[in-house]
């Protein structure tokens, strides 16, 4: 499946059901408060194709993270359905890997042990050597071949998030959920990590849903950018198909006129 076939595709009924990886229908989330129910999300519909990279952008507090943690199964669904490959989700599971905003590594474990924690769980029948190979492969992919045995707390924030990326890819999830994974990093490190992420993603083509606050990041990484309306009762406001060929380079994208068109589109949406 190429980028072209899904570009500017916003109507779900023309999409072939067999190509839908993640299906969110009529999703609703209500938080009870002393002053009555607070509706965070309502009537949220989103279909994400196999091998698609979708970024979600919206104002702070609009319910992006709520939606993502509901997909991850960490937050209960009030109403509606979330299905992966047609199967409704039941709680959290390794078929939906998560990269959290904070690296969330166990500080007392080495980088390798942190990755192995997931690998051991997902490939229980592989031999120890095979599992080590998997973990090491992904750590190499994120550029940490020299830091296998460093304790997580000894790594910089950026390196910790690299381990987080390796851990998420190493369990070979069907869907990768990224909750503003680079939000805590400085812009230089952020750029490096975006490159690392997209490089490893180009190989693995794991369906990805990523929350971001950064318009440039959203365009650079995504096949489609989903814009969410501000809460309460947030839903999908608009979807922008990003029609750049992969593999992408930052330079080529910045040189393209479309980039500024996309950027304007997103900023116009966010400023209204």
């Amino acid at each position: 499946m190429t980028v072209e076939t899904i570009q500017k595709e916003t109507k779900k009924d023309t999409q072939s059901p067999s190509q839908i990886m993640l299906d969110i229908r009529n999703l609703k989330k209500v938080y009870p408060t002393p002053k009555g129910d607070y509706v965070v999300l309502e009537d949220l519909n989103l279909q994400i194709m196999k091998e698609e990279f979708v970024t979600i952008i919206g104002h702070s507090g609009c319910g992006k993270t709520t939606m993502l943690s509901m997909i991850a199964g960490l937050n209960e669904i009030t109403k509606g359905d979330i299905a992966v490959l047609g199967q409704p989700i039941k709680g959290p599971g390794p078929d939906r890997g998560v990269i959290f905003q904070a690296p969330s590594l166990m500080p007392w474990m080495s980088a390798l042990q942190n990755v192995m924690l997931g690998v051991n769980q997902v490939f229980p029948h592989a031999t120890k050597a095979q599992r080590l190979d998997i973990a090491k492969y992904y750590l190499q992919k994120v550029g940490l071949e020299d830091a296998f045995h460093k304790k997580a707390k000894e790594l910089s924030q950026g390196m910790q998030q690299r381990v987080g990326i390796a851990r998420a890819f190493a369990i070979k999830p069907k869907v990768l959920l990224l909750d503003e994974p680079f939000g805590m990093l400085d812009s230089l490190t952020r750029g490096e990590l975006q490159d690392t992420l997209i490089e490893i993603w180009n190989k693995e083509k794991i369906t990805a849903v990523m929350i971001t606050h950064d318009v440039d990041e959203a365009i650079f990484l995504a096949d489609r950018v989903v814009m969410m309306t501000s809460g309460p009762k947030a839903k999908i406001g608009d979807i922008l198909a990003v029609d750049f060929k992969r593999p992408r380079t930052r330079k080529a994208i910045l040189a393209s006129n479309d980039y500024y068109k996309y950027r304007k589109h997103l900023i116009d949406f966010l400023e209204h």
């Binding site: 960490l74 390794p94 959290f100 969330s104 166990m106 500080p107 007392w108 924690l117 369990i171």
Partner: protein, 364 residues
């Protein structure tokens, strides 16, 4: 930067000069803070000894004045003069029974150490003397003759340490698993909360009495001395609360992100506890154990005293009861020994804590 410029000029003498100046400067810098670091505690110790000396002197004078006054009113001038002279000559028959001076405490320490060697020699002699007899007694199926002389100060310290470690181990075995269960389950937390809140502030003395009631009855048919059992169980019960509360808190306050990671990876309960929750709660658990150790050592003295279990507590109490000339200074020696050992135990726990947990803790 400066150094590299100097090197570029390639003048050896200049480089050497610069280096020697650098070294000298560094030496000066290192010496001053270390001297300062040493000076402050040393001077504070001197001030402490000075205040102690002056306080002890004034208390002694007060007692002497009172006793001379009393002798004067009861027996007249001659008796009062004789008593004054007797005190001035520091005669063993005229000793004050008040706070001893630092010098008296020091000499008592020396006495206690000498005493240790005397008793040690005694024991060796005893062993040599009874060895042959004991062999035949054992061959005949009788109990060997054992040394029943008085225990030395060092023996009592060792006995106290044994008691506190046994109590600490008991606290560890009971409080850590219980704390983990309480921390993991909100229902258990509710069930145990009143229990902890009510029993935590109970005095060591009352714990001792409770343990005494129970153990005495349980070992009712035993003829052996159970004071050790009673005292270590009491120490364990008094001191385990800090570990219990800290463990429960550490376990229930594990970083939400770690729990989410465990959930996403679908770790089993066993793995979740041993790979995520326990390592993350370890600093809390060790803080609790450190407090348990110091509380245990603190209450030990009172409990040994009550239980008549040989040890520092009994030593202090016996010295107080026997009222010899140097009893008071021996009590003060015991006080310092208790303090120093408590401090060392604390350091010992801290070093274990730093070795096993991922967060380094500074001494407080």
């Amino acid at each position: 930067m400066k150094q590299s410029v100097v090197l570029k000029t390639n003048e050896r003498s200049l480089v050497l000069k610069a280096l020697s100046r650098l070294k000298f400067k560094r030496l000066k810098f290192e010496l001053v803070p270390s001297l300062k670091k040493l000076l402050i505690p040393v001077s504070s110790i001197l001030v402490f000894l000075g205040i102690w000396y002056l306080g002890a002197e004034s208390l002694r004078q007060r007692e002497i004045d009172f006793r001379v006054e009393k002798a004067f009113s009861d027996q007249g001038q001659a008796a009062a003069d004789a008593l004054t002279l007797c005190f001035a000559a520091n005669d063993p028959s005229c000793q004050t029974n008040t706070l001893p001076s630092p010098a008296q405490v020091w000499s008592s320490l020396i006495t206690l150490i000498d005493d240790y060697f005397i008793i040690k020699q005694d024991k060796l002699d005893f062993k040599a003397k009874t060895e042959a007899i004991n062999e035949t007694r054992i061959a005949q199926g009788n109990d060997p003759i054992v040394y029943t002389g008085r225990a030395s100060f060092v023996d009592q310290i060792i006995r106290s340490l044994k008691t506190v470690f046994a109590g600490f181990l008991l606290a560890l075995i009971v409080a850590v698993p219980l704390g983990i269960f309480i921390g993991l389950s909100p229902a258990l937390k509710n069930a145990f909360n009143w229990f902890i809140q009510v029993f935590k502030p109970v005095s060591p003395v009352v714990w001792y009495l409770l343990v005494f009631m129970i153990v005495k009855t349980m070992l009712i048919d035993s003829t052996e001395d159970n004071s050790f059992t009673i005292s270590f169980i009491s120490v364990g019960l008094c001191s385990m609360w800090a570990t219990l509360v800290n463990t429960a808190m550490g376990v229930s306050s594990v970083d939400k992100d770690f729990i989410n990671v465990a959930k996403v990876l679908k770790l089993g309960t066993f793995q979740k506890i041993f790979k995520v929750i326990l390592p993350s709660a370890l600093p809390f658990i060790f803080t609790g154990l450190k407090i348990t150790m110091s509380v245990g050592w603190m209450v030990l003295i009172a409990i040994e005293l009550l239980a008549q279990s040989p040890g520092l507590g009994t030593f202090v109490w016996e010295e107080f009861q026997n009222g010899a000339n140097d009893s008071n200074s021996k009590i003060i020696v015991a006080m310092f020994v208790i303090g120093v050992i408590g401090f060392l135990l604390d350091r010992f726990m801290l070093s274990i804590q730093n070795a096993v947990s991922f967060e380094k803790t500074d001494a407080i």
